[in-house]
């Protein structure tokens, strides 16, 4: 599973940081920062889905490697 954060779309709702702190941090302005390099470890797939499906700005996308 690949995860992508669109920094332009992020408005700092901080939902991802709250739901998946293993995958997201926030900077001094409250903007999300992705902690992994694209590839989501298997044990964090659920959290990645949770973060993506709660972002009000649709800034997080997941792609499944086949």
């Amino acid at each position: 599973m690949q995860i992508h954060l669109d920094a332009e779309k992020c408005q700092g709702h901080n939902r991802c940081y709250g739901l998946a702190p293993e995958l997201f941090d926030v900077d001094d302005y409250g903007q999300a920062v992705l902690l992994v390099d694209g590839e989501v470890p298997a044990e964090l797939h659920d959290k990645a889905r949770l973060a993506a499906s709660n972002c009000p700005e649709y800034a997080i996308t997941l792609t499944q490697e086949s």
């Binding site: 408005q11 901080n14 940081y17 926030v26 302005y29 409250g30 949770l50 499906s53 709660n54 009000p56």
Partner: protein, 447 residues
């Protein structure tokens, strides 16, 4: 009222208030100048709303108590954008798609005024893109600059350390309710609890004296709930201007580690912020943070008073709070914002004219079945919840991390102290763009 009459009236009042001889930072401007224009609307000519599709009024006393029914009806009647001749002309998008689209379209919709009222800023008022209370009244590109300045003190890691203080405050308010006899004692969860929390917290962050809490509440009330009154009668705004001016002076003499001193040290275009800008930002924080959070806490307790299952779930499974907080915010979002039409445009067949009002009912967007499964149902562990309670796009609530903290801790502490409670009489809802219970009697029951 002429300018002279207004000035004569204002003088003695200033002297009596004990804020020194300083001019107010801001305040109402007399109508008829290019700063403030009375819109051709007299609420008495209209009376109660008969049809929300064509005569919408969010300030109708029946609106807030019944808002979810109003939105549902409008949607089922196939009305994505309602209209009203009130306030000189107003449009009301109801669906998530239309609210989202307008929030993102800062070209056609300006934030010059975000509270619908009988007066609107004229062309000589602090013009867009700055507006009177940046950043909420600002448009790009200035908006980003003003917002960036305020973001750091409200970022999650700056807000997290306030948790203990909020918790202590909530416990003190619960203690202040006195002796409780389960099954008999009735407390007002809005008046005795919810309303005190945000005002205390922001006051402390700003470094304002605790004894002024009641004064803040009056100011916020004046600014938000008296929207149908004549601009010249809203003296509360002048008072607030004086008060904040005096606080700024005090901080200049005694700088300290708080939000007011932080703001006074900020620079814009290489220059320290003027007192006007600092004062405007402080007012914004008071106005934007107090009624809103108080309403969110009140509505959540109103819900819990009627839902034993949800009370029990919070007790048995404290982890569910992560989802519960967001569901409270979705289901009972307290904040409807507004925009003004910046230039004539056709919005999905609606002929919008420059200076028309547009309401942005984020709460209605949160009840759109296209966006949320079973939107009128409260699902305490709703897993997919892209709610818009804190807005959408560039104006995302700057205080959202603080608001969320206050809401969570306020609920946690209330249900920890009183695991069981029920409604104990008539609930009074606010009137206007901020929706929440203002009188909320609950009877405390045995654990």
């Amino acid at each position: 009222m002429t300018d002279v009459a207004k000035n004569e009236q204002a003088e003695p009042e200033v002297a009596n208030r004990g804020f020194g001889d300083r001019d107010p930072i801001f305040g109402d401007s007399p109508e008829g100048t290019d700063v403030w224009q009375r819109v051709p609307y007299n609420p008495d000519d209209y009376g109660p709303v008969s049809d929300f599709a064509t005569d919408f009024d969010h300030a109708d006393p029946d609106y807030n108590p019944n808002a979810p029914k109003v939105w549902k009806q409008l949607r089922e009647d196939g009305c994505p954008v309602a209209h009203s001749d009130r306030y000189g002309g107003m449009w009301i998008p109801i669906t998530h798609d239309t609210v989202h689209e307008i929030a993102y379209d800062t070209e056609n919709f300006t934030s010059r005024s975000v509270v619908v009222s009988v007066g609107r800023p004229g062309d000589m008022a602090m013009p867009a893109p700055i507006g009177g209370v940046p950043p909420i009244s600002s448009d790009p590109p200035f908006h980003g600059q003003a917002r960036r300045m305020l973001l750091p003190p409200f970022a999650p890691k700056q807000i997290e350390p306030w948790e203990e203080e909020v918790r202590i405050l909530c416990r003190r308010l619960l203690d202040d309710m006195g002796e409780i006899t389960p099954g008999e004692s009735v407390v007002d969860a809005a008046v005795q609890y919810a309303q005190h929390i945000p005002v205390n917290v922001i006051g402390r962050m700003l470094g304002f004296p605790e004894k002024d809490e009641a004064l803040f509440r009056k100011f916020v009330h004046d600014a938000l709930e008296r929207i149908n009154e004549e601009p010249g009668t809203r003296d509360g705004l002048d008072d607030l201007g004086h008060y904040i001016g005096a606080q700024i002076d005090d901080h200049r003499e005694n700088p300290r580690d708080d939000l007011t001193s932080y703001l006074m040290n900020q620079e814009l275009n290489g220059e320290k912020l003027s007192d006007d800008i600092v004062g405007g930002a402080i007012v914004l924080l008071l106005v934007a943070g107090i009624d809103t959070t108080w309403s969110a806490i009140g509505s959540s307790l109103w819900h819990l008073a009627q839902s034993p299952d949800d009370r029990k779930r919070l007790q048995d499974d404290p982890e569910v709070m992560t989802f519960a907080v967001e569901e409270f915010l979705r289901a009972y979002a307290p904040v409807t914002m507004a925009r003004m039409v910046a230039k004539d445009n056709d919005f999905h067949g609606c002929p919008m004219k420059k200076d028309d009002w547009v309401l942005l009912p984020f709460p209605a967007a949160n009840h759109d079945p296209k966006q949320f499964e079973d939107p009128d149902k409260f699902v305490i562990d709703r897993e997919q919840n892209r709610h818009a309670a804190f807005g959408l796009g560039i104006h995302r609530c700057l205080g959202s991390n603080l608001a969320r903290l206050e809401l969570r801790v306020a609920i946690e502490e209330f249900v920890a102290r009183f695991p069981n409670f029920e409604l104990a009489g008539d609930v009074t809802w606010s009137v206007g763009q901020i929706r929440g219970p203002r009188v909320l009697p609950v009877r405390i029951l045995a654990d």
